[in-house]
């Protein structure tokens, strides 16, 4: 399903983050958003997920199947939001637990599988406060992947990971989210270029979205491909533009 955000605007207490913003998320494609810190990327994500509670928001979200988007988005926040009273495994299973039904063995198995994929199989019973920063982020990623939603919104999902782990988890995400519509926020142009079908830059006050860059070839791309390097330079230049 395609998703269109139309004429969206968002204010935090009289401070306008963006207005009259339009965003298109084509079905099955991976869209990345880059942008300066504080420009409004996370706010945009919250608006899409319908959780920008304290903000004044306007605009419309249209899904190509005509149903509301509400309830069909998996959200991975910039903070990991692990519940301190649940074990790592239960945090991954949170979506299932919140449905209120008994956990099926299949669900538990899938959660364990995802944990092993993010290399935390042996910490399944630990409490979140016993994890390192990167480990927490990986649990949050596993929790997001566990959800089975058509749209996946991820806010800097790999920011706390070392280069190697990051590559692995990128591959994992590409593989597991193959047929999903994905919106990812990142600060790393290479990461965006490696994973995305479309790359947008959010810029300005109030913020506006740039034209999409659409690298060719299938994901995950090699990061030393000439096209990727070319786009990287272009992106960096664009990002540098508006810094005051």
């Amino acid at each position: 399903m395609d998703i269109r955000l139309e004429q969206a605007s968002l204010h935090w207490q009289h401070h306008c983050v963006f207005s009259e913003l339009n965003l298109e998320l084509p079905e099955g494609q991976w869209t990345s958003i880059l942008g300066q810190s504080g420009v409004g990327k996370s706010s945009l994500l919250q608006l899409l997920c319908g959780i920008a509670d304290d903000a004044d928001i306007k605009g419309r979200i249209l899904c190509s199947d005509g149903l509301p988007l509400q309830g069909r988005v998996a959200w991975m926040a910039q903070q990991d939001l692990l519940l301190p009273w649940l074990s790592v495994l239960d945090n991954v299973l949170l979506a299932a637990r919140l449905q209120g039904n008994r956990l099926s063995p299949g669900e538990v198995e899938r959660a364990r599988y995802l944990l092993s994929q993010v290399q935390l199989a042996d910490r399944a019973e630990a409490r979140p406060d016993q994890l390192s920063g990167g480990q927490r982020q990986r649990v949050a990623l596993a929790r997001t992947l566990f959800q089975d939603q058509p749209l996946v919104c991820m806010d800097e999902p790999f920011s706390a990971l070392d280069a190697i782990t990051r590559l692995k988890l990128q591959d994992l995400a590409v593989q597991l989210l193959a047929d999903r519509t994905v919106l990812m926020i990142t600060h790393d142009p290479l990461e965006a270029l490696r994973l995305s079908d479309r790359i947008l830059v959010l810029q300005g006050h109030p913020a506006r979205l740039s034209e999409a860059i659409e690298p060719s070839g299938s994901v995950p791309r090699a990061i030393d491909a000439p096209e990727v390097l070319h786009h990287q330079a272009r992106l960096l230049k664009q990002l540098a533009q508006e810094t005051i």
Binding site: L83, P84, W85, G100, R127
Partner: protein
């Protein structure tokens, strides 16, 4: 070792202070008897005291159970239904402000002289602290957790029970601790208003006869009971919140390396 000795030492210390107060203030026997006299009475009247203590204990426990359940449920309802909250909160506060004593005749009228009215008293006295603590706890859930829960498609009920409630457990623990320490007063006050058994009855009766030593012995039994209750509840509360840092323990180590 120390853990076992400490309660003993504390008890002894309190008794000594008590004795000192008696000596220093020249408090007459019929107002503040010395600990020795009271202990003597405690032993000589032990069966009588135990008989009444059992009744009071049951009242306290029932009151605690009922008060906690009602308080928890009220707090949950208050948080769930915003409009209910705006209407009901003032009512709760008013209800709390009315001394149970004043309601005693009404309670007696409805519940009679038996145990029910005392349990009702204890319940009433516990009810508000628990409700207030839980409500405050439930209300202050970190916004991020709730946002996450909503994107996970959690129903209101699931949000309440699986996010807000565990997040409020520390506050709930505080409320429970206060409730536990207040519950005995509730039961005793209930007994004062009307009863023919229980420690409260015994105390009032002894007081009326100026057997102040017996009254203080009853007080002592009550205090021990309350203490045991408090520390059990404390233990349970801690078990319920293993993720809390309880930062006092490792508070000012700092120099460990």
């Amino acid at each position: 070792m120390m853990r076992l000795l400490r309660p003993l030492i504390i008890t002894l210390g309190l008794l000594v202070i008590w004795q000192l107060v008696v000596w220093l203030t020249h408090a007459p026997r019929f107002i503040l008897p010395g600990p020795l006299l009271v202990l003597e009475t405690l032993f000589s009247q032990f069966p009588l005291l135990m008989k009444h203590a059992a009744v009071t204990l049951v009242e306290i426990l029932l009151g605690l159970l009922l008060g906690t359940l009602l308080g928890l449920m009220s707090a949950l309802s208050l948080v769930t239904w915003g409009s209910l909250r705006r209407w009901l909160l003032p009512v709760l506060v008013v209800s709390q402000a009315i001394p149970v004593f004043a309601l005693a005749p009404v309670l007696m009228l409805w519940l009679g002289y038996g145990m029910a009215s005392k349990v009702a008293m204890a319940t009433l006295i516990i009810y508000f602290p628990v409700t207030a603590a839980c409500f405050d706890g439930l209300r202050q859930t970190p916004a991020g957790y709730l946002q996450l829960a909503r994107t996970l498609g959690a129903s209101r009920r699931a949000q309440l029970l699986q996010i807000r409630l565990p997040a409020a457990l520390p506050a709930f623990g505080s409320g429970l601790r206060v409730a536990t320490s207040v519950a005995p007063i509730g039961a005793v006050v209930g007994e004062w208003v009307g009863s023919s058994t229980g420690l409260g009855y015994l105390m009032l009766n002894a007081n009326a006869r100026m057997q102040v030593d017996l009254m203080f012995a009853a007080l002592l039994v009550l205090a021990v009971m309350a203490l045991a209750l408090y520390f059990s509840v404390n233990l349970i509360a801690r078990r319920l919140t293993p993720w809390l840092s309880e930062s006092t323990s490792s508070n000012f180590r700092g120099n460990s390396i």
